[in-house]
Amino acid sequence: MIEKVRPHITQNELLLFEQSSPGKKGYQLPALDVPAVDPAHALGAGNARAEIEDFPEVSEVDVIRHFTRLSTWNYAIDLGLYPLGSCTMKYNPRINEVAARVDGLAWIHPYQPDSLSQGAMEIMAELERCLAEITGMDAVTLQPSAGAHGEFTGILLARALLQSRGNPRKKILIPDSAHGTNPATAHMAGYSVENIASNDRGMVDTAELARVVNEEVAAMMVTNPNTLGVFEQNIVEVAHILHAKGALLYMDGANMNALAGISRPGDFGVDVMHLNLHKTFSTPHGGGGPGSGPVAVKKRLEPFLPSPRLKRVGDQWEWNYDLPQSIGRVRAFYGNFGVLVRALAYIMAHGGDGLKRATLDALLNANYIRKLIEPYYQIAYQAPSMHECVFSDERQAKRGVDTGSIAKRLIDYGFHPYTASFPLIVHGALMIEPTETESKRELDLFASAMVSIAKEIEENPDLVKGAPYSTRTARVDEVTAARKPIVRWKRPQAAAAD
């Protein structure tokens, strides 16, 4: 076992607690300019803590080395393509980071007077305007913290509108190709879920829809283009069928990267939708968050939007709480402001024309990849792909190799895996979304990796089944992690002497 740390995948790095040593410190505070207070006296003896047991004590050098080494074990957009479907892993522009850190934006308190927060409010108002324009909707709330949160908010809005008409109704229709957050959200909002099967072209079956829509149905949640990357050709008809029975059309905006600038959900019948700023609008994923999930609505849903809302009074912005029909707040304060700044910076950098160009580039890249690998992998549905394409592993499964293993082998070629096994309606799905960020060169490398793996499966399937081989860790034992979960470090007990 190599004890000297080396900047390589074979390095061994201890946890902070294992590197800790009493008396080490990485901080220095200014001296107190007021008398120090005795905690036991001020708080009551029972309230004062003796120490934070086993909390690490490390130096600044320890900290920077530790986290720098850890970072080298991660894949990232800055290193290469992430072909993850419906994740839209596009480049995170660094100008966004600088904008978000402008002192005058980072250091404002949400409770300071409106008159002293006009800059922040102007940013939010401008973003609302841009998002409404892009989606073709009438009003926007920036409160929800992420996509799932936006979904929940959107369904609550639908519920509020229906309630105001006398009956909130009972069911939400969800296609079997939907992302898991959709049914989870519907359930949280007090609705039961009815799954609706896709037709043989992978789209909503309008005949089936017409059969099941009745006055018990509150809404249908669709993703468009759907999770197969295919545009719902009958979306206008879908909206009509729902509206005719007083139901609403909710759109999951996860795939907005296929539509921005070329088609607007508000124009094809969507009543309420959410956006994922951390997908379409380039805010960084940061290993899993933060995100932001604004919700855009048509006029008739506007009175129910979360409170407070921005209101222009003379030449000033104000936070307006006088919203008698509002569903109330869905979180404290106003939204993930730091993320909103980044999204607005992205929109400003592209402009109206640029957003459309980015969308077309995303479509181009996905279709290019599809063309290159279609001879080797079974395309799930023949319909034209938009920003992502979905294959099935059925040809490879005949040689005993499934999509999960192909994904792991892709790592050896230097790429992050695509989305495996989703959507559930495709057997052994391979879901690939390159985004507009990628150059032809990167796409060619990706395609040739996929082709090479397909050939490996023909000649030596076991090689693929045992992947990955070139990573810092070999395949990780997720089974034991789930059977006997260890979710924190504990100080090892000294060996007991018998």
């Binding site: 096994s421 997720e478 089974v479 789930a482 059977r483």
Partner: protein, 126 residues
């Protein structure tokens, strides 16, 4: 492989009825399909179950599968050993990997389930 004195369902559960009590589990085929089992969500003793309705959940790393009751009745015992050793469902699905014991409310349900031969034909056809 599939004991003669057990009865089976198309959802891959088995039941062994003895003296008005049915011991219930999942079949060898089911555990193979599920892969390594990491957790079993057991019903409480005293719970009432209905034939065909979900009464337990079996989890592998990537999936959670509902287990449907092959017979109706009251849960009189749950196999707590599965909490510490869920892998028993994989290693001995027809024996030590039993899930619950149910006091049968409608013993005639058992007769209408598949016999060992019929279940194996069903598997062959699947």
């Amino acid at each position: 492989m599939y004991p003669e004195n057990y009865r089976y369902t198309k959802e891959h559960e088995w039941v062994l009825a003895e003296g008005g009590v049915g011991t219930v589990g999942i079949t060898f085929h089911a555990q193979k399909e599920l892969g390594d089992i990491v957790y079993v969500e057991l019903p409480k003793v005293g719970a009432l179950v209905e034939q065909g309705k979900n009464f337990a959940v079996v989890e592998s790393v990537k999936a959670a599968s509902e287990i449907f009751a092959p017979v109706s009745g009251e849960v009189v015992a749950a196999n707590d050993a599965l909490s510490t050793a869920p892998e028993t469902l994989n290693s001995d699905p027809h024996g030590a990997g039993w899930i619950v014991k149910i006091k049968l409310s409608a013993p005639e349900e058992v007769e209408r389930l598949l016999s060992s031969t019929d279940y194996q034909s069903y598997l062959g056809a699947e």
